[in-house]
Amino acid sequence: MTQAKPRAKKLPLKERYALLTRDLDWEPSYVEREKLFPYTSYEGIKIHDWDGWQDPFRLTVDAYYKYQAEKDKRLYAVLDGFAQSQGHLGLADASYLNAIKLFIQGVTPLEYAAHRHFAYLARYLEGPAPRFAALCQSIDELRHCQTQIHTISNYNKYYGGFHSWSKMHDRVWYLSVPKSLFDDAMSAGPFEFLISISFSFEYLLTNLLFVPFMSGASFNGDMPTMSFGFSAQSDESRHMTLGLEAIKFLLEQDEGNVPIIQAWIDKWFWRAYRMSALVAAMMDYMLPKPVMSWKEAFELYFEDQMLGGLFPDLEYYGIRPPRHVEDAIAEKDHLSHQVYKILHNFSFAAAFTTQTPGVEHSAWLSEQYPGTFDELYKPVWDKHARTEAAGGRIFFQGLPQLCQVCQIPMVFTEPDDPTSTSFRTSSFRSETFHTCSDGCKWIFDREPEKFVQAWLPVHQIYQGNCGGPSVPEVLDWYGIQEGDNGEYKGSPDQRSWAEWHSGAPKQGS
């Protein structure tokens, strides 16, 4: 074994961190503190000592740029190698790209939104340590947005449907699910934003929201997506730490903060969990080679790690597991099937294609969901398969009712009865509002003034705000082109796949 050389002398990490963050802060002399930081009091959160905020990473500005540059260098080496070696030929199947389309339409714009909002926190949080952590995260999120666009652009050379994703994010029905969640968070105060995005999104559910895309990419031959994903995730672990630090800091500062934080955890667990329904559908139905079922991922990452690990830790501060968590657990055998059914029925109006699971895929689903799939969901897919064998394809005609809060069509069933649709209503200012679950109803009833303003895609179509009254007019307004949507079999992507992979090797033939 080689002996390491004596290390070059430098300041210990703790001192370096103190010098480069806290010691660079100053007390304002000619501006009142309340004017300098006007947004940190109205949410009712009390902070007595901002220096109580510790960044466990002890990240300093020089280290930040050094490691980020190294991460980018590694990522771009993979991207180049993939492009130069015609890596797109190694994908499991072109239908895999539907998951990537969902990603660039649904997730990439959130990275940009996060970049903007963390820049705001980097200015307006009062402590130098959280300000610096927020600044790093703001730059991270911009990097994620850029590297995702760059990575996925390679597929745009060989396959359709990668145009207009940014416009789609603002307009298309299923994308209003992630967009409205982030809009909700960004229009909240700075502390609620920390609990919504940094804690609930980045710590509690990050492993269910992001990691499945990356493992799916790895298993389906998509090296670049896996690489940007894991490159982003390495930043994400820092973001998770920010989320965990934020919640502990807020809970330690004042006992009066505890009930406020608890209500935000209750709200944002359910908000982020509902959005993860799209990921559940992707994991179980959109990967040619599935990696892990939604149910297994939920048990491993959420039930074991979060309910089993994190919440006993938070109990110390008087925090209990999120409200309605038992409904999420009860749903784990149903969620992906119910949501993919909607995507499948409405993919004529989506910017990706769908298909009925084939024989092998169905067998895998039966294995993963022994208690529910064969009885409740397989018969529906069998019926689709029979229709398709006779040359048909069922698409739902008409527009679905949306949940006022999560904006997912009302497809979910009662937690204790998978044969009846869960349907809740609330009354506000003499109007009736519909929600999909006890979780979403609770969120609506807590802030009705906020949620009555929801931009619901179906309502907007009926109000004439989406290009016109007919399907072709709405699709045109969405930016969806013929062939981006509908059934996968026979789609332009499937034809391109066949062309790229056609012909036996010429040599020796």
Partner: protein, 94 residues
Amino acid sequence: MTSTLRQVGIDIQDAEENRPLVDAIRADNPELTIRHLPGLLKLQAAGRIVINRETVEAQLGREWDTGEFQLAIVSYAGNFSEWDDDQIIVSWEH
């Protein structure tokens, strides 16, 4: 403060350059279990996982800053209860 035996975990990118790091973590945490998932290694242990700079350097045969751990990690469950020049510890606090 009582120590807890609830599982903590670290997910690491399954890459050539991370193997010496994983070997070092395995050496310093005899109870560690490693699960292979596509593209990543899921390291889990009851109570805590410790990473010692000296063990990593011995495996790598070069100097290693604990900050470099940021290049390898994908996700984790637990809390970074220590992160200084010599050691990183992931554990639950309460």
